[in-house]
Amino acid sequence: MSELPQYPPIDPTTFDLIVIGTGLPESVIAAAASTSGKTVLHLDPHPFYGSHFASLSIPEFNSFLNSNSAPPASQSCPETACPSDDPNLSIINLNCRSLYSDLEISSFSPTLLEECSRKFLLDLAGPRVLFCADKAIDLMLKSEASQYVEFKSIDASFIGDGDGALLAVPDSRAAIFKDKSLSLIQKNQLMRFLKLVEGHLRATAASVGTDVNQSEKGEERETASRISVEDLESPFVDFLTKMKLPAKIKSIVLYAIAMADRDQENKEISKQVLKTKDGVDRLALYQSSIGRFANASGPFIYPIYGQGELPQAFCRRAAVKGCIYVSSVEINPNLEFQSSGNYKGVKLASGQELFSNKLLLDPAFTKSSPTSSPDDSLCARFDFLTAQNVKSKVVKGICITKSSLKPDVPNLLVLYPPQSLYPEQSTTVRVLQIGGNSAICPMGMFVIYLSASCEDVAEGKKLLNRAMSALLSFPDCSESSSIASEENVSHPVGAEEGKPTLLWSALYAQELQTTGQSDCITSSPTPDGDLDYNSVFHATLELFQTMYPDTDLFPATNPSDEHSGENAES
């Protein structure tokens, strides 16, 4: 704190919006606000973009998680809680809390990784991919942030079992045709079901698209193919049962296409039961993602250079529109309030006061103990900033290997539906392998991301460990140090045939937290436990709408600009 601020004081000091943290929601809102003509200051305490959505090198990753998973001790230094010079101002101190816990890093090949530790870009919020027909893609095109990002196609997706076998997900007609594991009848049942959903969507689209007079004729024909309202409101799993789909197909549809997180069969345990209408929407998203871009082989794409590219792209967009960026700024912001209780601005660690109409905060910021607060009612209003005792967590794992889970398939997705690893497994484990061709690791190496939602971290870790041992072979622990020196890591000695050998792994838990809002202050959501960005973007758009109800989100610019955006995409 005694250090002089690295940066000269920020000028100007008054903005429409101050955003702290460059996570994806914050960056999108900064870009949207700038685009609509607001003056925006975007601050980040870190030297990199992306906050909880960043892609980091191994050392950066280590230090970020270590510092962030340390208990928040020193941050709430009492001296910063000094009363304001101005007696009319009340102050609330904010702390930077950690979203992460239970970090475990194991390195089985220190020397090898030492050489290229900076060549990795590890996603904090992995495993995550984009559906080609995702809202996120539309928003990127609309905002023209897409011109700053390039994508790689995820080559294939698989369903895994406890024995390490990977079966391709029969997600399209061609895939079903080629599939070797389904019986003829199962192929027929699955395809019929997909067609049923397709017919329903077409019928729905047709009745929405045409006016009543025109559609009357078509409607009679189409109503037969629509799924009844009753069915749409029922649990998706019940609808699948009603359609007489066998367990194997149900599991594929629920967990590998509709991407359900929790065990849908066990409704007592599971809190999130997917309704048919949501399931159908997810199938629609999946199907419309296939073939949207000519050079994407499946429904998923992944940004080259990692997930961190996405928030960065929006930040660049915001900067083009006049947003001011200051990173590595030591923020220990104190919220300043007028005596009326209205938010006025923030005070940085440097002591500089910055004023804005609205404030958007990284989810890691929490209100410190209300000792210094002069006003209890004021505190109560910002309860959402208090560190919640979050129950819902997602356990994440990152593994590095020197060979692919499937030969010749560098980028792939593996799903372990509930009960596929062991009977008590109640959530889906998602595994994403990204290879060197996406520029996130040296060529010939692979980064494997895993995640599973859980209530209990130990249980979640057990699940990930089980998935990892199904997919990977662990170097003999007693020899872990010597193996590295022997330089034969690339040849998995004594390992089960074909399984990649684990070189490095990290396991950690992340809290799940939704947005919080009061008047002018908004806290953005943490990365969620989903595989895609749909919910993140959905929540972000809602946030923007509540912050600026009368403002269009990225209003359409002139057509020629939009066209160039499309080009960048395809």
């Binding site: 007609r173 061609a174 045709f177 003829l184 192929k187 027929n188 019929r192 067609k195």
Partner: protein, 690 residues
Amino acid sequence: MHGRPRKPLKPVDEAAVAAKAEKLRALQSEFLSNHQNKIYSKEAVELSAKLLEINPELYTAWNYRKLAVQQNLAQCESDPESVNSILDEELKVVENALRQNFKSYGAWHHRKWVLEKGHSSMDKELGLLDKFQAMDARNFHAWNYRRFVAALMKRSDEDELEHTQNMIDKNLSNYSAWHNRSVLLSNLMKKAAPGFTSKDEVLTREYELVREALFTDEDDQSGWFYHLWLLDQTVRSEFPLLVSSWPVEGSDISLPAADYLDGCASMNVFHYSSRNFPLVLYFNQSVRGVNSSTVSVSCGFNLNIDLIWKPLSSTDSQSAKVWATHLAIPDAELHSSEAYQVEVKVGFSQGIVSTTGVAYSHPSQISFQLHLQKTPLESGQDSRFGRIQWKDDCFAVYEPGSAEPDLVNLLDNLTIKNEVESTASTWQARIIDDETNIFRDLLDCKIGKLTVARLLTAYNSLRPLDKPVHCKEVLELYSELMKLDPSHYQYYKDNHSLVLLQQVTSSKESLLSRCFHYRDSTLSTNGSPLCLRLNNLAISQLGSFEKLLWVQMLDLSNNELQSIEGLEALQLLSQLCLSNNKFRSFTALESLRYLKSLKVLDISQNEIGSHSIDTTRYLFRSPLSHSVGSCDWNINYLSSETYWEAFFVLKDMGLTQLDVAGNAITSKSFNVFLEKLLPTLKWLDGVEVN
């Protein structure tokens, strides 16, 4: 490229269109003058390229370029580099033209022409094709060209087969790929290439592949066609075989003695009013080369001349499934009360070959006996038969064992037993059996029902000697399909009819139950002819002719027939009732021309003349469509040109009785025309002709 709705053309600026047309016109006239004046200068050739880029359909311009290339090549024959540059230029022009319209015949043809000059690397061509097939995987021009390139570069059929597999893997709805697969496999099996020597194994593999496609997407029709092709490959007998004959092996045929030949009377069911006794050979497929040297006939009496075998086919004068000849009974030498042994030996000497070139190699022999019978001449022979009336009360149920034991024997031996066939069909039967069991799982959809019906039918066709099984199930399947898919009603109906006829003709008992004595007041029971009644069966197509060669009197009334194709095999037919069917024209009755014994014909209550467009001519290939002028058209005795079809079909027939009432064509003038055309006619629409 497929399944996309056509978008209405955008309204365009008329002035711009006019300007464009004007520009094109100017280019075109300049080009044509170059062409006429044989100007092949650089500028002139470039002009044609420009023109082709706008309009690749201008084949004159392609031809002009060919001439230009030929001339330019002649000038620089020695220099390989300039030859290359000339041909490269052509390939570039074609590529640009194809970019404009990749379905331009002229452009593809020009490319082939250039390639035949031995230019361009084939790999480059395949690369180009991949590009076009990526744009539209089913573009048949590209597929066509691919076959050409593959042949030119001698790419192996195996590699090409692999290519079709890849295309099908990408999108199984690719008729072109499936088709090419069938072509390549036929080649490979014919060559007996390694891995393709066993038809059994190859077909089993292919069934597995197409099964995956059909189960994945039961609505995709390209797979259906391929499955149908496989089924045909499985069932089709490679070897031509004799299926049935008239007379049948071991039968006794009674003929009236010479004295009474004209009398036409016989105590026997089988009686012939002519000295020409027909012999009919019915093969399992179309064959050629049936003649007096490949088929020898020996009998107790002298045959003065070589028999002339005629193919019974309206489309082909060289080959047919059915061949017939007439044995002339010499008047003088025969003695009554003597039985004459006749032996017909088929294929003992080489010469009979199937249309696919496989030789007939299973010689068979048919022996039967001819008896001459003297019967007293009845008085008033003209009126003796009176008018045949096709009324139910004129028919009495046939009682076996009464007078004609030979009919029962005959019905037992309708088909010829070919041992080869029954032993060779074991693997086919296995394939079809397996396939049927698998497709039974798909019985809840259209293609499942249809495939099972086809498979069961195919199974029966493999074992022609055994009683057909599953007929009832197949008939039910087709009935369901008619309801389920009304737009293809007629197809299902036709197949339903064929199976129904198969069932009816399958056994002696079933045939006998449809045999009736015709009797009216003028005839005694003994002399009454025997009629096979296949009326009121709702059949729309005829079949199983091989089992009906013996029929002389046939009632097909009250069905839904539109054609009698195939009926020409029934050479003994003398009375035929086709009333209350759906015949739309006389061309649909063309088979009648081959039925020389036919005396009585009822075609009343049909639709002849009520359809201005004769669709039969599109449905059934017929020389009638082409040979209008070849008949001796005597305009003088015809009241109207509109009856030329009736003229063509009926002109040489010796009909004594004809019913045509209840057709749109009938009129007074038509009746007059018929009376003139058929001088033998005694009854026309129930009225005695003067």
